[in-house]
Symmetry: C2
Subunit: 333 residues, 2 copies
């Protein structure tokens, strides 16, 4: 059985995983429309937050809904056919963040998860229970950690420095307050969630989804022991550039890159991840055709590099990217 | 200022309180459509429960929604224009009680309350915050206690005795499992909520709403110190019979009376409450015209008694009942 591990954030991670699943069905078919390959997603939990007494885990949910086929493709987040009746009530009571919408269908997930967490379940066990409801086509979702390690952002706001939750910076301020640093609150005491290290150790390929390199992939790798497990694994590590044509596709990942002094280019992100064995991660790197000029610089770092269209328009284009990543990782049918 | 205290359960309590408010506006008008009287409702919390990680308080909510004019009059409980999108999700995840519906609008209240309780607020403070949103026409809602004292029911189920939460007995089993006893779990350590004893001590009239004498009024009075405060207060105590024409109006209060060996009659309930000063509570008792034959027995116990139509069809009929109760209590304009 071929084992594929994907490090992933929210929307980009979800679309990429859909492609990996599709490509796995083609490359490793099980004869009944599925795949014999085992796909594990190790998902960023830095965006998680307590909101209105509920634990929300946006990246895990984006991936779960997308793989289950119940996501709102148009809007880019949340459930299809969503409504906001409960949120309107909460606003009247002055509860929650007025700039953060909790959809009714989505709230079902939040309430279920929170009730299990309050009962003492770990996040990974709650995720396992939530995903039982859906057919994810065999993809297993693992939170990077069960511990509450929330990403905070140090910003300069007028004359003062302050720190705010990533969600507030991202959703309320649209990443417009210049970030000086990202902090993983409480990361020192955190551990990878059960199953994470095993999945990494037994992987045949480790793929970095085209997610935010700083606050998605970077946050996953920031969990103590996780980066070491990835770099020490026997599997090749192949990343997919989140930069297309010198710009971020959606979201405001460039603001995150700028905060840590990384240029918004496919080559700069590859350099940021670094060459495996030289303090970095990558064995391979996929860039968009429009960034082909960056290939020489990446190759000069002895990172194997390919180019192809990286815009994930649909399952087919996403599967093509996954196929190229698996090719670079040497995982063939 | 005239101070009226009402001990109340859910639906019957809510309708009666609407009548008390209406009558107070007529009897003690403030010149702008309101009343100069202070009305405090001391509300049963024995039906409260943790459900799907949320704290639900059905009686407090019934009263709040009814006084705010947003209750579903037809259905008899919950919010007008309610929907159940979140509940359907919870069912899919296997969370909550499938036989207990949480409406979407109602969930807004539950989530707000629970988030405040999780933040460390006491129930009475959470109620105060919730009611800030609504215009209750000056009625103040006080939970009988801030402590979690949930009513459980000992039943004979086939060959075995077991104990279940009141909500399960009432809503799931429609009170059809013969009850052997009602238990207020943890009542020994409970205290009246802040404001309760003061309201009772300074009252000009203490009214017992036509709520369930066992699991609503009885539960309120079961909080240590509460019954003593009521019987020791200077105000007259007048009760309204929940029995009309020898039957309960709605709900299954007769099952509760049967469990404690009280007949379903206006006279038997008066006897159950008892004459103040003789181990009981009542100075006065209102019975329905159809139960006029019970008046002699009540009067023989030296409880002042009047009869009038007790079916609370609308604000006017409810106000007439409140007027009769205030008359019996000697509280005149």
């Amino acid at each position: 059985m071929t084992r594929i591990v994907v490090l992933a954030g929210g929307v980009g991670g979800a679309r990429f995983l859909r492609g990996v699943r599709e490509e796995a069905r083609r490359r490793f078919p099980d004869g009944s429309g599925g795949t014999t390959a085992a796909i594990a997603a190790i998902v960023n939990t830095g965006d998680d937050a307590w909101l209105a007494g509920l634990r929300i885990t946006p990246d895990l949910d984006s991936i779960m809904y997308t793989l289950a086929g119940v996501n709102d493709e148009q809007r880019g987040w949340g459930r299809l056919g969503e409504s906001e009746r409960v949120s309107a009530e909460l606003r009247e009571y002055g509860v929650g963040w007025p700039w953060f919408t909790l959809g009714d269908l989505d709230l079902g997930t939040h309430i279920a998860r929170t009730s299990w967490l309050r009962d003492g379940l770990r996040l990974s066990a709650a995720v396992e229970r939530l995903t039982r409801r859906w057919d994810l086509g065999g993809v297993r979702l693992l939170p990077a950690t069960d511990d509450e390690v929330e990403t905070h952002v140090r910003v300069r706001d007028g004359d003062v420095d302050r720190e705010l939750h990533f969600q507030e910076w991202w959703t309320r301020y649209r990443a417009a307050l210049p970030a000086r640093a990202f902090v993983q609150r409480g990361v020192e005491a955190a551990q990878p969630a059960p199953g994470v290290l095993d999945a990494i150790a037994s992987a045949d390929a480790i793929l970095l989804a085209p997610s935010n390199p700083v606050v998605s992939i970077g946050t996953v790798l920031g969990i103590p022991g996780l980066r070491q497990a990835v770099t020490g694994a026997s599997a090749p590590i192949v990343g997919v550039s989140p930069i297309i044509g010198g710009a971020v596709v959606r979201g405001m990942a460039d603001a995150c890159l700028a905060a840590i002094g990384v240029e918004t280019s496919a080559a700069a992100v590859a350099e940021h991840y670094g060459r495996r064995g030289r303090g970095g991660l990558l064995d391979g790197w996929l860039v968009d055709d429009r960034d082909a000029e960056s290939m020489a610089a990446v190759a000069a770092s002895e990172i194997a590099v390919s180019s192809l269209p990286l815009l994930m328009r649909d399952a087919d284009t996403s599967a093509a990217i996954a196929a190229a990543a698996l090719d670079l990782a040497g995982v063939h049918r």
